[in-house]
């Protein structure tokens, strides 16, 4: 049996069963993971552009000392909104968007688990982001930093609604990312195609699983903290206000217990992308797969033990601090292991330097520099000098842009043919890379030096006699180059819509994972007969004969649920149909969240529409085809690890 978009009766029936509704109902009711994933990616990218515009304004303002372009009030809103956007509305959602689109495809599933929950999460993410930017345009943008430290964020020092907007945006994005995390974990654990045992899960899927677990453990800390802050501001609960025996430092512990794992929530999917692209473009199985996966897991664990290095300047006892120094330095080991495995894979592979791989090479140069300055910042004495200076600004942009944005651009070029059916321009791609790589280093490298020369973060201006002018000019010129690179990328993506280009084909890069086993773009339902996995790179391991799963119904939305460890078939599950209830529930939740920054009564009255929409969402269906069906197990011809796949084996 072959794999491909064969147009026969079954395919048409499958597509009919899984298709989005047509017309405006497609907008309101789609629960297809590809539609939602695409929406997530486009929306997150739009927020990336908005955050980038804010960054450009900051660079213009700082280009010379005493520049009167923006005053302190607007500048504080701009840098707070920039940080908040990039963390909560771009970096986390864009990675989750890739997960929503590709995890089901990579594990050979017809759908993501809990598709309606994923639809709900998208609307919450969108409404949260719109809420932030509407507030910003109404001169109510948050202005106390993306970390929102009390007492500055308390009503005594921030009497307007700005700090509430920040705190409530957190609630929006946390709800959204928790919903996605649960869905991705369930997809990766229960919807894998037969044969994809735990030790054959693609590294990118592992990175999404590990990240999702981190989301589940980290996000509650910041939700708790931001809720306590809103309560302080709304009904004077005195969690953090010192005048009433609250504790200003408590906030910092809670916030950074989330805030540091957050960095890894952004970087771990990035490293999963690096593994994916390095493997494909070295045309070689990952060297040290087990070490890489265990590195991701141990990074996630250690990521929860470092938060105090954001608080070295607060004056905690020295012995206690040194434990966090040790942990902060040792987390470099698992990341180092991953880097060595990537080098070994390239060393022993056949490398094609095409655009996606170019971004990964850029990643190495930038991310390694960022990791090394991270080791410097882990040392308490050095940290007390560099903390809250432009050195730190340089450091985390090297880590996050190097570790997440460069792999992400690589992934755009890598997966764009799968999503759109057409490749992006190779020549233009090299220009985009060149501009962003040069612009990035020009912008952020001088900031290391500025920090060492005493320039603190979050200042809207500085005195000419401090001598920070020239390097700031260099940084601002670099920012312009970066902006030009992003514009060129947009031209590439948007112009392609009208330009007729060659069909990408199902597998343009000769990759080994299952998202390439279906047409580009994948049809509704993804796979008529889900391909099974005979190894870690099923498309390389199973050639020429690809065993597939048969016996799944195509006249209804049916997926195969498998066991967690060995992915053996368990049962067939009927999946839900498209529905507008997730959108209605998200609207009701939005009304509650936004209302509650004005009056506590919004929580009481706002709960009623949320309840009503949830009842609509979960209204019991009639029996019949719904629910769990036993899996008819006739034979098991699955290849075991190390065994040659049975030719044409059918389940």
């Amino acid at each position: 049996m072959t794999i491909g978009h064969v147009v026969d009766g079954d395919w048409q029936e499958l597509e009919r069963s899984w298709a989005d509704p047509s017309g405006w109902r497609r907008l309101t009711s789609s629960i297809d993971h590809k539609t939602i994933g695409r929406r997530y990616l486009i929306t997150a990218f739009a927020f990336f552009l908005l955050g980038g515009v804010l960054a450009a304004v900051m660079r213009l303002q700082l280009a010379r000392p005493g520049h009167p372009l923006v005053g302190p009030d607007l500048y504080n809103q701009i840098f707070t909104t920039h940080g908040t956007t990039m963390m909560f509305l771009f970096a986390v959602p864009v990675m989750q968007g890739l997960g929503i689109y590709f995890v089901p495809l990579m594990v050979g599933a017809r759908s993501i688990a809990f598709p309606r929950l994923v639809a709900y999460s998208y609307w919450m993410f969108l409404f949260g982001g719109v809420f932030l930017y509407v507030s910003f345009l109404l001169n109510a943008g948050p202005d106390v930093g993306w970390f929102s430290y009390p007492p500055l964020a308390e009503s005594l020092y921030s009497p307007s609604k700005r700090a509430d907007v920040w705190a409530q945006l957190i609630t929006f994005t946390e709800v959204a990312s928790l919903a996605v995390a649960v869905s991705l974990i369930t997809t990766a654990f229960k919807l894998r195609t037969p044969g994809m045992t735990l030790n054959r899960i693609p590294v990118f899927v592992w990175s999404q699983v590990v990240t999702s677990f981190m989301v589940i453990f980290a996000m509650p800390a910041v939700m708790l903290a931001s809720t306590a802050l809103i309560l302080d501001r709304l009904v004077h609960t005195h969690f953090f206000d010192v005048e009433q025996a609250g504790d200003a430092l408590l906030w910092q512990h809670l916030f950074w217990f989330f805030g540091h794992p957050e960095v890894y929530i952004i970087f771990i999917p990035g490293s999963g992308l690096v593994s994916t692209i390095v493997t494909t473009f070295s045309q070689r199985r990952m060297v040290g797969y087990l070490a890489v996966v265990l590195s991701l897991v141990s990074t996630a664990f250690m990521g929860f033990g470092l938060w105090v290095h954001h608080m070295f300047a607060t004056g905690l006892p020295q012995l206690g601090e040194s434990f966090f120094t040790a942990a902060s330095m040792m987390i470099a080991i698992p990341t180092g292991i991953q880097i060595f495995c990537w080098i070994a894979t390239m060393w022993s592979g056949r490398i094609r330097v095409q655009t996606p791989m170019l971004w990964i090479l850029g990643f190495f140069g930038i991310f390694i520099a960022g990791g090394l300055t991270g080791v410097m910042l882990a040392a308490v004495p050095l940290n007390t000098q560099l903390h809250d200076t432009f050195f730190v600004v340089a450091h985390f942009h090297y880590v996050l842009i190097g570790g997440a944005v460069f792999p992400l651009f690589g992934a755009f070029y890598y997966w764009y043919p799968k999503i759109a059916g057409r490749p992006l321009g190779e020549r233009l791609g090299r220009w985009v890379f060149g501009l962003l790589f040069t612009g990035f280093n020009l912008t952020f490298f001088p900031m290391h030096v500025l920090g060492l020369h005493g320039m603190p973060r979050r200042v809207y201006t500085y005195l000419p006699e401090l001598g920070w002018g020239p390097l700031n000019v260099v940084a601002s010129v670099g920012a312009l180059l970066m902006a030009a690179g992003v514009v060129l990328f947009l031209v590439d993506v948007l112009a392609l819509g009208s330009r007729a280009t060659a069909d990408a084909g199902a597998n343009p890069w000769s990759a080994g994972t299952l998202e390439w086993a279906t047409a580009s773009p994948p049809p509704p339902g993804n796979f008529l007969h889900p391909p099974t996995a005979g190894g870690r790179e099923p498309l390389w391991d199973n050639t020429p004969a690809q065993p597939v799963v048969t016996g799944l119904r195509t006249d209804i939305r049916e997926v195969l649920v498998t066991h967690v460890l060995d992915a053996e078939p368990d049962h067939r599950q009927r999946f839900p149909d498209p529905s507008a209830w997730p959108l209605l529930t998200a609207l009701a939740t939005t009304a509650l969240f936004v209302g509650s920054i004005f009056t506590p009564w919004a929580v009481v009255w706002g709960a009623i529409p949320v309840f009503v929409t949830l009842v609509g969402w979960f209204w019991p269906k009639s029996a019949g085809d719904a629910g769990t069906q036993p899996w008819p197990i006739r034979s098991r011809t699955l290849p075991r690890p190390g065994e040659a796949p049975a030719a044409g084996g059918v389940l």
Binding site: I351, V353, P381
Partner: protein
């Protein structure tokens, strides 16, 4: 003037030493790892389409293990160096120490030189004087939001957290002028919350303390007397103190010897008569958001007020 790279005391020097160690170690590691990537790239791209990789997995695994062990060894060495430097930076010499209580305000610094005799205490703002060679203990807290005390040439920063008092030690090895700046975001004028540090020989330092202990000079002429009258009867005295006069406000910097300071408005402007005049009449123009309101004085009143401030040496 305000740089980590020009240490002027033992604490800053030992941090600077750690910085140099980290910088050179990182440079070597960067060259080695990026070199490895480029070497792998060169090998991998040379291989033809049909060629199968020849390196056995076992030797690749050995390479990964060796690199990991090397990474761990380097990290443990840096950790040791960091803890070692930390011990030096935090060590204390209590004898003959100068003790200064620092209180942060939005957006200025209150400095009190402590003394066992209350009458010998010195209260000032936005300018620190330190003697060379004597240890200094700085006890920090805040009256409103979180700030951070930072003189990069002398020592790392320490946050000023309301409800908490913590202490750091520093020492200046050479005379000179340095600049400190708030390093924790504290609101609208975080950018303009700096202070001057004057390091001088012991004798000059003691002389400065004596001079600061004295009450304000009485106005010498009619214009300055008129200025004092305006200061105490208009709203200035509600927030500012000038010792020896009726002005005793606590909400803003003590101005008893304000004309002796190097800069104005927490390191924002040079402390010259024209700047003082401009700042008193419209502080919001220079420092938008500052707690000090604009003051619509007449030109004559402003001249009198400035003349009086000039006498506060």
């Amino acid at each position: 003037m305000q740089s980590v790279l020009r240490p002027a005391g033992p604490q800053a020097s030992s941090i600077h030493g750690l910085w140099l160690l980290m910088l050179w170690t990182s440079a070597v590691v960067f060259v080695v790892v990026v070199g490895g990537v480029l070497l792998a790239l060169a090998r991998g791209t040379r291989r033809g389409a049909g060629e199968t990789p020849t390196t056995p997995d076992s030797s690749l695994h050995r390479g990964i293990v060796i690199s990991t062990v090397a990474t761990t060894v380097v990290l443990i060495a840096l950790l040791t160096a960091s803890v070692w430097a930390g011990r030096g930076v935090a060590s204390q010499r209590a004898e003959a120490a100068v003790s200064i209580a620092v209180t942060g305000h939005q957006w200025w610094w209150e400095f009190e030189y402590e003394d066992a005799l209350p009458s010998r205490r010195v209260l000032t703002a936005n300018e620190l004087h330190l003697p060379t060679g004597r240890p200094v203990v700085v006890k920090v807290t805040s009256r409103d939001v979180i700030h951070s005390f930072w003189v990069p040439n002398l020592q790392g920063k320490r946050d000023l957290i309301p409800g908490m008092t913590t202490a750091i030690w520093l020492q200046a090895a050479q005379t000179g002028r340095f600049r400190g700046q708030c390093a924790e975001f504290c609101g609208l004028q975080h950018a303009h919350m700096a202070f001057d540090v004057v390091v001088e020989p012991e004798g000059q330092f003691e002389h400065w303390l004596d001079q600061q202990r004295a009450p304000a000079a009485s106005p010498a002429d009619g214009l300055a007397s008129r200025g004092l009258e305006i200061f105490t009867t208009q709203r200035c005295g509600r927030c500012h103190t000038i010792r020896g006069t009726d002005a005793a406000g606590q909400a803003a910097p003590d101005l008893t010897h304000m004309a002796s300071r190097l800069s104005l408005a927490a390191g924002t402007l040079p402390n010259s008569a024209p700047h003082r005049r401009a700042f008193v009449s419209d502080p919001q123009a220079t420092k938008p958001g500052t707690q000090m309101p604009s003051n619509p004085f007449t030109d004559q009143d402003l001249a009198a007020l400035t003349a009086y401030l000039d006498t506060l040496q």
